[in-house]
């Protein structure tokens, strides 16, 4: 019972990691629900839903996946260096933030291109579809926007979190520990993208 049953401390030490994982379970179900929307649309009989995938830019998508994987690697290095009390930890955290911003920029450019082509499902663009089956194409972009948009919001909050830790490193009581918890969240965002990428970009 020793470690499991301390009534005295309201210690973050043993609880923090578990708490973050419980939170990630919640987040995981949020994305699962959205992906369920994708599955239902894709499995609907007769729908040429996946055709929308061909309208996306595969090179940019692949590049973005690589960027996000690199950011995960970066923050993994940051946690290792953090536990060794190395000053490289803070730099690696900043690099993670930079990669996150690069990811958002590329994503933003993709949105811009798609909006130019009249693909994004905003109300006023609804009648400007270039391809034969606008209905299914539109549904694909509905789902695409919902999934990548929610994911992008998570990247933004991850940037805020990791960036905040890097900036206020000296003022935090235990920066390395806090960074470790934030890294779990960052890796989770990466895992979500790992599933979104093939679902959206590779469903040709």
């Amino acid at each position: 019972m020793s470690a499991e049953a301390q009534g005295h401390a309201t210690g973050v030490e043993p609880s923090g990691e578990f708490g973050v994982f419980v939170f990630l379970v919640s987040e995981g179900l949020l994305f699962s629900a959205l992906i369920l929307g994708y599955l239902v649309a894709r499995l609907a009989p007769g729908a040429d839903f996946a055709a929308g995938s061909r309208e996306l830019s595969l090179p940019l998508g692949t590049l973005n996946t690589a960027v996000l994987l690199s950011s995960s690697f970066c923050i993994a290095l940051a946690t290792i260096w953090g536990s060794e009390r190395s000053r490289w930890a803070r730099l690696a955290a900043l690099a993670t933030v930079a990669l996150g911003i690069v990811f958002l920029c590329i994503k933003g450019y993709e949105y811009f291109e798609e909006a130019q082509k009249g693909l994004l499902p905003f109300r006023d663009m609804s009648d400007r579809y270039p391809k034969a089956e606008p209905q299914h194409l539109r549904l694909f972009f509905d789902v695409y926007l919902a999934l990548t948009g929610t994911h992008a919001l998570h990247v933004i909050s991850g940037i805020g979190l990791v960036g905040g830790i890097a900036l206020f490193w000296r003022r935090l009581a235990r920066p390395a520990h806090t960074l470790k918890l934030a890294a779990l969240y960052w890796h989770f965002i990466d895992v979500i993208w790992v599933f979104l990428f093939p679902l959206l970009y590779l469903a040709r």
Binding site: F21, A33, A44, L69, S72, H187, D190, V194, L202
Partner: protein, 86 residues
């Protein structure tokens, strides 16, 4: 997690990414989706096991992850049960 382990994982992730993108240029029908899904699961497992320390974390955290997977199965199973039997 050592720097070596992190580096190996990173290289592994990039290789898997290359594999899954390359596979889309080979028309295999449903096989493509299968490969993509398998690669995604492998990548997620790598990130989870190494980067998120799931290898080393105790029973409690493993159970938490198991609960997530189980509940996703519940949601997908019972919902798709409706769609497949309409």
């Amino acid at each position: 997690m050592t720097i070596r382990a992190a580096l190996l994982t990173y290289v592994g992730l990039l290789l898997l990414l290359a594999l899954t993108v390359a596979s889309t240029f080979v028309p295999l029908g449903a096989g493509n989706s299968l490969i993509n899904l398998a690669v995604a699961v492998a990548k997620a497992a790598l990130i989870g096991m190494v980067f998120m320390h799931l290898r080393r974390s105790g029973l409690l955290v493993s159970l938490t992850v198991a609960v997530l997977l189980f509940w996703i199965c519940l949601m997908y199973g019972l919902t798709l049960n409706d769609y497949f039997t309409r």
